[in-house]
Amino acid sequence: MAVAPGLFTGQDPNAIAFLERLKAPSLAHPLGTDENGRDLWARLVFGTRPTLLAGVSVIALSLVVGSAAGLAVGYAGRHVDELLMRVIEFFLAFPQVIWALAIATVMGRGLVVCVLALALTWWAQYARLMRAQVLVVKEREFVLASRALGQRAWRILLRHLLPNCVSTVLVKATIDVSLAILLLAALSFLGVGAQPPSPEWGAMVTIGRKYLLDYPWYATFPGLAIFLMVLAFNILGERVRDVLDPTSKTWRA
């Protein structure tokens, strides 16, 4: 649906038809219409892409920056490690939603600003995780061996450390995408994320809220869509963890 929204609906998500305002679900409009007579199903379908893309971007950004920082910190040795860990802890100390709300208010609303604002604190989680992994792996024999062979530091980092640390980080990333989608939707709901007329799901719930008591389906379906997407990523995350990390069976013990 995110790749080719046109295949899933014949309706234009931005076609305005005032005569068709706030219609209940029917054959022509399976989920009803919004306050401008736009088809809600079409808007949901077209909203898949921004919703999904924004959530994935937050984590992708944090993953890349955090992993690079974590690799460097873990490998660099004691003094750099000590200093940079304080920096990482500093970024971990911020309540994410509150700061994203403040940053987006001051720097200008929009989905892109929210993505950057969330990534600004989120990378530190990956840096901490990556560093912990590196500290374990770098004492293993094959790393010591390649160091003894005189290989360069960046080669050891990329060829030996990274592949052995990446699976734990990827498991976290899959589960985190669901959290990122939730937080972004919440920011949109609070009015600093995606701006109308974008069919982003969180923003749709916000507008639907105004019509909640008389036209309950309007807010119900976009919220349901967010819920299903987040649930899907959570289940995917659990599966990925079972595949990549056989040691973590603790939840099902």
């Binding site: 304080r86 802890e89 500093f90 100390a93 911020f94 309540p95 994410q96 939603v97 509150i98 700061w99 709300l101 403040a102 940053i103 208010t105 001051v106 720097m107 669901s178 939730l182 937080l183 939707a185 919440a186 709901f189 609070l190 009015g191 600093v192 969180g202 719930v205 639907g208 809220r209 909640l212 008591l213 309950p216 807010a219 119900t220 976009p222 919220g223 349901l224 967010i226 819920f227 987040v230 649930l231 959570n234 289940i235 659990e238 603790t250 939840w251 099902r252 013990a253």
Partner: protein
């Protein structure tokens, strides 16, 4: 204990300095030139603007400006609201008890429901209740709480007409005499049962919605902490002594599992802050969160920055207290 606190204090001071610096840098990004506005706006001549700039200290170096800003903040001066021109701190004093009441009620609900649920599912591991817990917590954890809140309003207010849709008291009820600022506690202190009933009716829906996220976490952690302990030798001994099963589970097992449980409750209390903002928005709960969202809508920057700074400090302090409690609860890590 005192030594641990003393060792953490410099780090805490550094952290708070960093956070305030971040807040200060945010104020520097604000659109508009404050000197231009202070000089009277459109009519101002370049000399008037320069004069206002000097008067406000805006011509000084950034570091000096930061020092001035910090001096104000430490004295509780967060500037004046751009909407009602009152000092921001006055509004914050007025609104924070409502948020505290909501957050405490939510964490109480999730602890009172979550801990027994976790214990029960660990004791009856792999039975039907236990099999529901893990998927159930993933299910709940995937709900956007703003949506869940709206659905709750639809069901309990519009369809069943059981509970109010928002606010802290029905119009016409006077708030109880302020002692703590928490209406439920104040109504109890004043022995005013009608107000107490009304306050509780308004509190139950937002607090339940807010408790959902932490409920899932607390249940999971309680369950796994209990599972770790239920097979220990001293529990077999206790059973062998002929103690009743509830005594074994509650007195021997739960007490030893309490470290991770108390820790997760503390952490969740910090995590609630973001949820408080959302829940207050949905239920028109007149606390700091609703104040902040209104400020966002009005572009009331001093209010937003003050809110951000204060909630961050609260968040940091909660997490610090959780860290400090850890050795108190678990003698093994004291060394």
């Amino acid at each position: 204990m005192a030594r641990v606190i003393l060792r953490r204090l410099p780090l805490l001071a550094l952290l708070l300095a960093g956070i305030s610096l971040a807040a200060f840098l945010l104020t520097q990004q604000l659109p508009g030139d404050p000197a231009f506005i202070a000089a009277g706006g459109g009519e101002a001549t370049p000399e008037m603007i320069a004069h206002a700039r000097a008067r406000l200290g805006l011509d000084r170096p950034m570091s000096v400006q930061y020092a001035y800003y910090m001096r104000g903040v430490l004295q509780g001066d967060f500037g004046r609201s751009m909407v009602n021109a009152k000092p921001v701190i006055e509004d914050i004093r007025k609104f924070w008890p409502a948020s505290v009441e909501l957050a405490l009620a939510a964490i109480a609900i999730s602890a009172v429901v979550g801990v027994p649920l976790g214990v029960a599912s660990a004791v009856r591991a792999r039975r039907w209740l236990d099999r529901l817990i893990t998927p159930g917590s993933v299910f709940l954890g995937s709900m956007p709480i703003f949506w869940l809140g709206l659905m709750a309003v639809l069901v309990f207010y519009r369809m069943l007409d059981m509970l109010p849709a928002g606010g802290r008291l029905t119009v016409g009820f006077a708030p109880p005499p302020a002692v703590t600022g928490l209406y439920v506690v104040d109504a109890l202190l004043a022995r005013d049962l009608a107000v107490l009933r009304d306050a509780l009716r308004h509190l139950v829906l937002p607090a339940s919605i807010l408790s959902v996220v932490s409920l899932a976490m607390i249940t999971r952690v309680t369950r796994s902490a209990m599972l770790d302990i239920l097979h220990e030798d001293y529990l077999r001994t206790a059973r062998a002594k002929g103690l009743a099963e509830p005594v074994v589970v509650l007195k021997h097992a739960l007490r030893n599992a309490s470290v991770p449980i108390v820790t997760v409750i503390g952490i969740q209390l910090g995590q609630l802050i973001g949820g408080v903002v959302i829940t207050e928005t949905i239920f028109s709960w007149p606390g700091l969160g609703l104040y902040a969202v209104t400020a966002v809508d009005n572009q009331d920057y001093p209010a937003i920055i003050a809110f951000t700074l204060i909630t961050t400090v609260v968040y940091v302090v909660i997490n610090l207290v959780v860290d400090l409690l850890y050795p108190v609860l678990n003698p093994q890590v004291r060394s």
